[in-house]
Symmetry: C2
Subunit: 257 residues, 2 copies
């Protein structure tokens, strides 16, 4: 049974997709079999692997509404061991359409439970911003939540909100859900706001904050326009190296040598 | 009748709230009477004016569900001429609660139409990320959409998606809705991705792209932790000056000396 990790934060633009793409790639590079589910109607994770509109015909929308079993929605990527369930534009209608369906919050959990034929080590879910029904589906399906956190004031303010939400979901829908970790993203040493936010977060969340910190690095924001994870676009850059380290740190925390 | 401007972009973290706070302040500083509606459950716009939890008891949630007329939800700010309808945590439940209500997409439009006692020049609406029912309410209530755009690849990709959404909403719900403008945010001269994105956007959207470009500026991201718009936190900094210019450019575009 794979470990299911939702990469979530209702605050926008904090590095969820960038973390999902590059952590998935780092885990696959370490020899793990990984599925990445793109649950954001923007489809940024799908774009980050250069998927064409034709390759996105069957995706997370079809999996949620039940017309496609998970295995039929998987697409290979240029990274050995990493397959992706893409997002297409249909998904933006899902917010409103899903509400009237049965088991509206556990459609993804049920699709994953039914996918006995998908034998992988990790399932990562890239969540959209806002606590929408799509994000709720991810949190109900997940065992763990990884929270990318930009070192900014608004992002820090949202963290308490997210922790409360995780607790509510654990109580009502998914007893096994836990906050696995917080990873600091777009860290800029020249900006002393980053140091302040880091100190605050480590004081409150202690060991749950990853030692690996992702630096702000131009190559990271260039990679998606080339349809590649930064680990493939420029493996030597600081951003890529940080994501390689993040993947090994996650494996250590899971005792998954 | 006030001009109603939704500040919207489903892409997260592009500067919607920062633009809403500082454009509202700039318009008020130019002598206009302004209401800012915080429609994001994160309540970042409310935080940006230092509002306490007590001050947010009645806010946009109560306006949407109909228990409070707009005028009773207005709170004064430290900026003369600028009042705000705050957001509280109740709002994050609104996504799902609103769906079963009558006129679910036009609750805000109806509240604004009924507010004859609110005599102002501009109503700005800070939208959450994702195209949720809250964002839909803002777009149905608005005359104009101002789109903050971060000069990054994922943000540019989302713009076409947003334009299609505006067209769909104009056709089905709100004939007067138009894309008033695009404003480039967090522009970093050292990052040539910014120049490429700017060239692409100006080629496609022409005059609709504001001449004023908002630079990336540390003071802008520090201001919210002091509960003040950057125009009050440090009026001489590049970010504050850019927002002052943005307000005057908007007034010129509206022929509103
Ligand atoms: N370490 C980094 N250095 C530089 N740029 C980065 C870094 N991480 C992310 N970015 C850029 O910042 C922007 C926001 O990141 P990303 O889209 O991954 O965030 P997100 O949380 O997924 O956003 P959304 O809330 O819209 O889903 C993107 O343009 C991305 O390329
Ligand atoms: N010009 C700027 N220079 C530096 N930092 C900025 C600038 N504009 C915004 N920021 C910072 O970038 C982050 C994202 O901006 P903001 O929260 O306004 O975006 P948003 O689109 O409202 O996000 P969301 O999608 O979560 O609502 C914030 O931490 C903000 O302080
Ligand atoms: Mg994303
Ligand atoms: Mg915002």
């Amino acid at each position: 049974k794979p470990r299911v990790v939702a990469i979530a934060n209702q605050k926008g633009g904090v590095g969820k997709t960038t973390t999902a793409i590059n952590l998935a790639t780092g885990l696959a590079a370490a020899g793990k079999r990984v599925v990445l589910i793109d649950l954001d109607p923007q489809g940024n994770a799908s774009t980050g692997f250069g998927l064409t509109p034709e390759q996105r015909q069957t995706g997370s929308y079809e999996v949620l509404e039940g017309s496609a079993p998970l295995a039929t929605a998987l697409i290979g990527t240029m990274v050995p061991g990493l397959t992706i369930v893409p997002a297409n534009v249909e998904l933006s209608g899902a917010e409103i359409e899903l509400v009237d369906l049965e088991h509206r919050e556990s459609r993804l959990a049920r699709a994953l439970a039914a996918a006995n034929d998908v034998d992988v080590d990790y399932v990562l879910i890239d969540c959209p911003p806002s606590l929408t029904l799509l994000t709720l589906n991810a949190l109900v399906a997940a065992d763990f939540v990884l929270v990318p956190l930009q070192c900014e004031f608004f992002a820090l303010e949202g963290l308490a909100h997210l922790v409360r939400t995780i607790e509510r979901i654990r109580a009502r829908f998914n007893q096994r859900l836990q906050l696995e970790g917080v990873v600091l993203t777009m860290y800029d040493k020249r900006n002393n706001l980053c140091e302040q936010v880091e100190a605050d977060v480590r004081a409150v969340f202690g060991e749950r904050v990853y030692q690996t910190v992702i630096p702000r690095n131009i190559k990271v924001s260039e990679a998606p326009s080339h349809g590649k994870p930064v680990i493939l676009y420029d493996v030597r850059c600081a951003g890529a190296q940080a994501y390689v380290m993040l993947a090994s740190e996650m494996l250590r925390r899971f005792n998954d040598g």
